[in-house]
């Protein structure tokens, strides 16, 4: 399995080599993606990938935590199993369904009801206003992040629920015995005990958010420009590769650039995972 993984990375790197050779390190930072002039840069799609994934995590984690907290501590025992199964079933919905739902239901709703209001009221504010400006297309980075958040929610929630359930009752009971409230037990006993697994669950979600293709392609707006507004269109690595692959000829610089993008996505996922592991370790020592 590891050999296969290694071979895949090497294969991607070799295939993408012409692109790295042609553009150098600037391939990673350049925001130019112009197939007509054969100028390719990964900047826009890397930016879009990271922004949507991080935003999706920011939206999904509090919700997932709430769901898991409710299911393990607050919900009446008879409701826990069916509700938990329902959450897990959400993870089985194919991503194309989320994409279509996002395009036909969420994007129009955003375009007609939510975005005009936000652009008018928050877009004018200083400091954060620039994040919420532009035409209300309905699609864009924010919509993509929103759909991604819904997609990764069940993964994170299911992991959290499972690990919260595994906290030995003795720990919780002793805390309750000292007069702690449910929230205090969660904060002081359950969370510290399960921290590693909780972060693991979040990483699982982040991994899926980074690589998700179909659902993102539908709603991100697919523009190779960096827009500071969250409502502006953007692109992610996975979505760009999927869209352009069919129209790139063998041996062309474009195909090499797409494969190089795949290599970068691979690295990105690895760096994210490695960083999280590292952060986690240093926290455990303290």
């Amino acid at each position: 399995m590891l050999i296969l993984l290694g071979a895949l990375i090497i294969e991607l790197f070799i295939a993408g080599l012409p692109a790295f050779r042609a553009f150098g390190v600037a391939f990673v930072t350049s925001t130019d993606w112009d197939p007509v002039r054969e100028a390719f840069g990964a900047g826009v799609s890397i930016y879009g990938t990271i922004v949507t994934a991080v935003l999706a995590i920011l939206l999904a984690v509090p919700l997932a935590f709430g769901v898991a907290f409710f299911l393990t501590e607050l919900a009446p025992p008879w409701a826990r199993r069916p509700l938990g199964t329902a959450i897990e079933l959400l993870a089985a919905v194919p991503s194309i369904i989320y994409g279509m739902w996002g395009f036909f239901v969420i994007a129009p709703a955003f375009a007609q009801n939510i975005q005009p209001w936000i652009i008018e009221n928050i877009g004018e504010l200083p400091l954060i206003g620039f994040l919420f400006q532009g035409a209300p297309f309905g699609t864009g980075l924010f919509t993509a992040a929103f759909i991604l958040a819904i997609m990764i929610l069940p993964f994170i929630a299911a992991t959290m629920r499972d690990v919260f359930d595994q906290v030995p009752p003795v720990f919780k009971e002793s805390a309750y015995g000292l007069g702690a409230t449910k929230w205090e037990v969660m904060k002081g006993v359950v969370l510290p005990y399960t921290r590693i697994s909780v972060v693991g669950g979040i990483m699982l979600g982040l991994g899926r958010a980074l690589g998700e293709t179909m659902a993102v392609t539908f709603v991100i707006g697919n523009a190779n420009r960096i827009s500071t507004s969250l409502f502006g269109p953007g692109n992610t690595i996975a979505s760009l590769v999927a869209l352009e692959f069919g129209e790139s000829e063998i041996g062309s610089l474009k195909l090499a650039s797409l494969l190089a993008l795949g290599f970068i996505l691979f690295l990105l996922s690895f760096v994210v995972l490695a960083t999280s592991r590292y952060l986690l370790r240093s926290r455990l020592k303290v």
Binding site: D32, W33, D34, P35, V36, R37, F103, F104, A107, P108, A111, Q112, A135, P136, F137, G138, T139, G140, T217, F218, G221, N222, A223, N224, R225, P233, L243, E244, G246, E247, S248, E249, I250
Partner: protein, 339 residues
């Protein structure tokens, strides 16, 4: 006779002749452009009975079609963007057109109905360059004295996936606007300075339907079946034409096909009634086929389509090629493959 053996015998009698015909059918395979896929499938179905040739066409996209025919993994390739003479020579390929299609602009402006809005090519180029940003821009208002245009932001939508549709659209915009040609250029996927991308014709149509003030471009067949609001466009002769059968046919007959690889420039044709944005789609056939019999069957199939397929093409809102072009293609076959 017990019931079971009777049923078995009956089913064998039913399936045997069909199986026999299936085994005899000559198979040919093709891959490429998605735009002509509906008509190729229709032709394949109709020609199967008449010619005994079974066509297996995969619509994987023009670029992939070119790759597959270069590697000779299929009997013929199909592409919307024609290859130039040099590319054809190095690949040992013969290129010929089969059918034409047209692109239309679709809009979503409150109070504007089908074919009411009048636009020009340079205006469309400026819209896609992000230079004209509101529907009540003086230039648009001047063209449409009878219409009340709202002060609404223009939201251009384009194909995000590499596609022959985009190739034809930017070919047209580049032909009418030097600035567009310089800043964006021509290709199956380009970098549009403004607007939002969506996947496929259905994605562009969906975006235009969702967003007030949106404009997009789709194939005419798609606009008709989905009842999208199209516009008039001014042609080279200076007349505003509606996207309809008459103007498409006028464009097809006005084109000059006597160029290498039949790569006729049919964009923005002269002629009083010509619709400016039409484009042929092409077949790539190896001139040094690995299997001569299969190559002959490909030509037999398209010969049948030229003779009998025009009505089917019109039913699916494609534009059949003029008879003179059909004969010129047959001449090119004779030249490359003998009789």
């Amino acid at each position: 006779m017990d019931r079971r053996s009777f049923l078995l015998g009956a089913s064998a009698a039913l399936t045997l002749p069909a199986f026999g015909a299936h085994a005899q059918a000559a198979q040919i395979t093709g891959a490429g452009a998605t735009f002509p896929n509906p008509i190729y499938q229709k032709w394949a179905e109709a020609a199967r009975g008449a010619t005994g040739i079974q066509v297996n066409y995969q619509s994987v996209g023009s670029g992939a079609g070119i790759n597959q025919i270069r590697n000779r993994t299929v009997d013929f390739g199909a592409t919307d963007a024609p290859l130039n003479a040099e590319q054809l020579a190095t690949g040992n390929l013969l290129q010929f057109p089969t059918v034409m299609g047209s692109l239309v602009a679709i809009v979503n402006i409150p109070g504007i109905a089908e074919d009411q809005l009048k636009l020009t090519g340079p205006l469309l180029a400026d819209i896609y360059l992000g230079k004209i940003t509101r529907w009540n821009d003086p230039q648009i208002v001047a063209l449409n004295p009878g219409l009340t245009l709202p002060s609404l932001a223009i939201a251009p939508a384009y194909r995000a996936d590499g596609s022959g549709t985009t190739f034809v659209w930017v070919s047209y915009l580049s032909a009418v606007s030097p600035e567009f040609k310089e800043k964006v250029g021509v290709g199956t996927s380009v970098r549009f300075p403004a607007g939002t991308g969506a996947r496929g014709n259905e994605g562009v149509a969906g975006t235009v339907r969702n967003v007030r003030g949106a404009i997009g471009y789709v194939e005419n067949a798609y606009a008709i079946t989905n009842k999208l609001v199209t516009t008039q466009i001014r042609n080279k002769a200076g007349n505003f034409v509606k996207p309809e059968h008459k103007s498409f046919m006028a464009a097809a007959s006005a084109a000059d096909w006597s160029v290498p690889g039949f790569a006729a420039n049919v964009i923005d044709q002269a002629g009083a009634d010509s619709w400016p944005i039409v484009a042929p789609t092409f077949i790539l056939l190896p001139t040094n086929p690995t299997d001569a019999a299969r190559s002959a069957n490909v030509r037999r199939f398209f010969d049948w389509c030229f003779t009998n397929g025009s009505k089917l093409a019109e039913e699916l809102e494609y534009i059949p090629l003029p008879e003179s072009v059909h004969n010129a293609v047959r001449g090119a076959w004779r030249q490359s493959f003998g009789a």
